[in-house]
């Protein structure tokens, strides 16, 4: 029932946005819908933590991992929607966007959230695929939101690369159906039916299928070398959308990969999928670290950092054991703090009117609270102690040090490189003398509260994980 309420509220908000001619109504219904989604997701989380799963009408199925990602979607979705209201008001005041654009934005934002929820809660792998593809379709226009040639180019790249990736993912999905009786007319194939039929699968086909899945959905996760769309799309989209793309969408796609991994592991030796994840994860860390040194744009800097963090999560799932538990925690921390960083970057962009690092100086003076949030986010995301991501990175790499010492040590080295690169850029932006034409002081409080709340959540989670969430993480780790 909760899942139905989530979709109903978002879809009602979408329709209301479509027909409303008043900006306040569009903003209000979108916030209410995301708030309802958040409350209902919390109810689902408590239910799954106590019973293990939550099933509605056979077409919806939520397990522990799905619930964790639902929580991420709901939390970041709520923060991004609230932030979007003031962000777009400021952009309208500057003459960057008009009412029609704002209307389109909220319609697409709501559809994007609905598609992400659907991808996670769908019990059928093909429907999951349709939902993930829907996330591409709903966001392509928001990436080209500013109607500039660079935004258009980024959106086109995003559309084409992700469509190719997802088609390969679809091909991989179909291959998992080869050993099931009566795929056409017999009824809906669910994740559970695939898992329970694992004994009948042909291991050779499943191996090829998983490679297609990893390449296909891995494109959406942003794993190297399929990552090329990510920095462009994340840097050109409006800041709240970048937060959702980077903090949430990557995790949604990763969950799909992990669901197929669970099935694959039941058919072929676990090391097959683990080795693949380690290779792609390690490549992602290396490439992100090397490229970040030469970054000139702070939104791209954050985007490349997402590639590195997805790489670390992939390493954790690849190493297995405690690594899986830490990888799930890493996904949560990264999602929340990266969203906070993107929202802060949006405020900086509004103030300075440029996303180039060289043009942003003295943020500490110009935007005191935002700069502190940005710095806090930087320390958290780079794995500085005592924050949670320090623990997750350290434990993931220490789990792998016995079996894969070269990968672990090299990953540590490149993660350290990334810290240096990020530190250099972040300090250059935060400190120094602000340009004379930039006024001092934060804008609206509604540009501060959402990132502040997200940073507060991740700091709290670094020291205390609520029992229901801990149960969900443990349950999710058991299956992966």
């Amino acid at each position: 029932m909760e899942i139905i309420i989530i979709f109903s509220s978002i879809l009602i908000a979408t329709v209301a946005c479509l027909f409303s001619k008043h900006r306040v109504i569009i903003e209000s219904v979108s916030i209410v819908a995301s708030l309802v989604a958040f409350i209902e997701t919390m109810i689902v989380a408590f239910k799954v933590a106590s019973t293990g799963t939550c099933v509605s009408y056979q077409i919806f199925f939520v397990d522990a991992l799905g619930t964790i990602v639902m929580l991420i979607i709901a939390l970041v979705g709520l923060a991004s929607t609230i932030y979007s209201v003031q962000y777009l008001r400021d952009e309208t005041a500057k003459g960057i966007v008009g009412f029609t654009r704002v209307k389109q934005y909220f319609i697409l934002l709501n559809l994007f959230l609905a598609a992400m929820f659907m991808a996670v809660v769908s019990s059928n792998p093909v429907f999951t695929w349709i939902s993930v593809e829907a996330t591409t379709l709903s966001t392509a226009f928001i990436i080209s939101f500013y109607n500039k040639p660079s935004a258009m180019e980024a959106a086109w790249k995003y559309l084409i690369i992700n469509s190719i990736g997802l088609l390969l993912g679809f091909f991989g999905t179909l291959l998992y159906f080869t050993s099931l009786p009566g795929t056409g007319e017999a009824g809906l194939i669910t994740w559970n039916s695939l898992l329970s039929n694992a004994a009948h699968f042909n291991p050779s086909i499943i191996k090829i299928a998983f490679i297609f899945i990893l390449i296909g959905y891995g494109t959406k996760v942003g794993l190297v070398p399929m990552h090329t769309w990510l920095p462009d799309a994340h840097s050109k989209a409006p800041a709240p959308i970048s937060a959702l793309l980077s903090g949430v969408l990557l995790n949604v796609a990763l969950v799909v990969v992990l669901r197929f991994k669970e099935i694959t592991d039941a058919v072929v030796v676990q090391s097959f999928s683990q080795h693949l994840l380690i290779v792609f994860g390690f490549l992602s860390i290396v490439v992100a670290a090397l490229i970040n040194f030469t970054q000139k744009n702070y939104k791209r800097l954050l985007a490349y950092h997402s590639i590195e963090n997805m790489g670390i999560a992939a390493l954790g799932f690849g190493f297995g054991g405690l690594g899986v538990l830490m990888a799930i925690l890493h996904m949560i921390y990264h999602a929340v703090v990266k969203s906070a960083l993107f929202l802060s970057s949006g405020t900086i962009l509004l103030k300075y009117g440029s996303s180039k690092i060289i043009k942003v100086k003295g943020v500490l003076t110009a935007l005191p609270i935002t700069s502190i949030l940005f710095l806090a986010g930087f320390f958290i995301i780079t794995g500085t102690p005592p924050f949670g991501m320090f623990l997750t990175k350290l434990l993931i790499l220490s789990v792998g040090i016995k079996a894969y010492p070269v990968v672990s040590i090299a990953s540590l080295f490149f993660a350290a490189m990334l810290f240096v690169a990020f530190f250099e850029h972040a300090t250059a932006m935060v400190f120094g003398e602000k340009p004379a034409e930039i006024e001092t002081g934060e804008g609206s409080i509604w540009l501060v509260i959402p990132p502040l709340a997200l940073v507060a959540v991740v700091v709290c989670l670094s020291f205390y994980i609520p029992p229901f969430l801990l149960t969900l993480i443990n349950q999710a780790a058991l299956h992966n």
Binding site: N147, P149, M152, I164, L167, K296
Partner: protein
Amino acid sequence: MTLFFATIVLLHIVKKKSVLAVIYGIQSFAIVLLLMCSSLHTGAVSLLLIALLVLVVKVILAPLFITRLIKKHNMKFLVGTYANTPLTLIIVAVFVAIAHSKAFLPLVDIIPANRELLSLVLSALFISLFLLVNRKGALSQIIGVLSLENSIVAFGLLAGLEQTPALQIGIIFNLSVWIVIATIFISMIYKHFGSLDVTEMTHLKD
């Protein structure tokens, strides 16, 4: 299936944009025929309905959309390719050989009676991917994605992996939305860049 395969090879060779849309229509018609054969073979009426839907969306509407777009912007000839025609054909032959190699034997043996056909469709899948890489035009990239989707559908049909009618309708609906969005983007790209040559999109360098 020979017709289906031939259309994919042709997509690599043609120079006129309007021909590209027609070839895609013919390729999709081959899928309609395949769906109808499958329906007759299995006796599933729902497959006939899906065939009708595919006919409307892929054989009629999609080529019509693309042709209107070409006429609207007065685009006649395709942007070039990275590899010239002889080299393109050699690479196509290599992909056919790869699809027939031992590495993909488990896939083409899903239904042993259809081994040759599945090999051919697998080749088509690889060649569609190559089309996406080789062509410099945004319009060709759209056709490449659609052709890739057709190849996967053909593989699914020949390997007996048809989905429930509801899901198939969902997939076709998804594709329809994709076509609409992609063609809108084509118009916007043409407006911004004055060309559909993706190599001229260089605003993301920094």
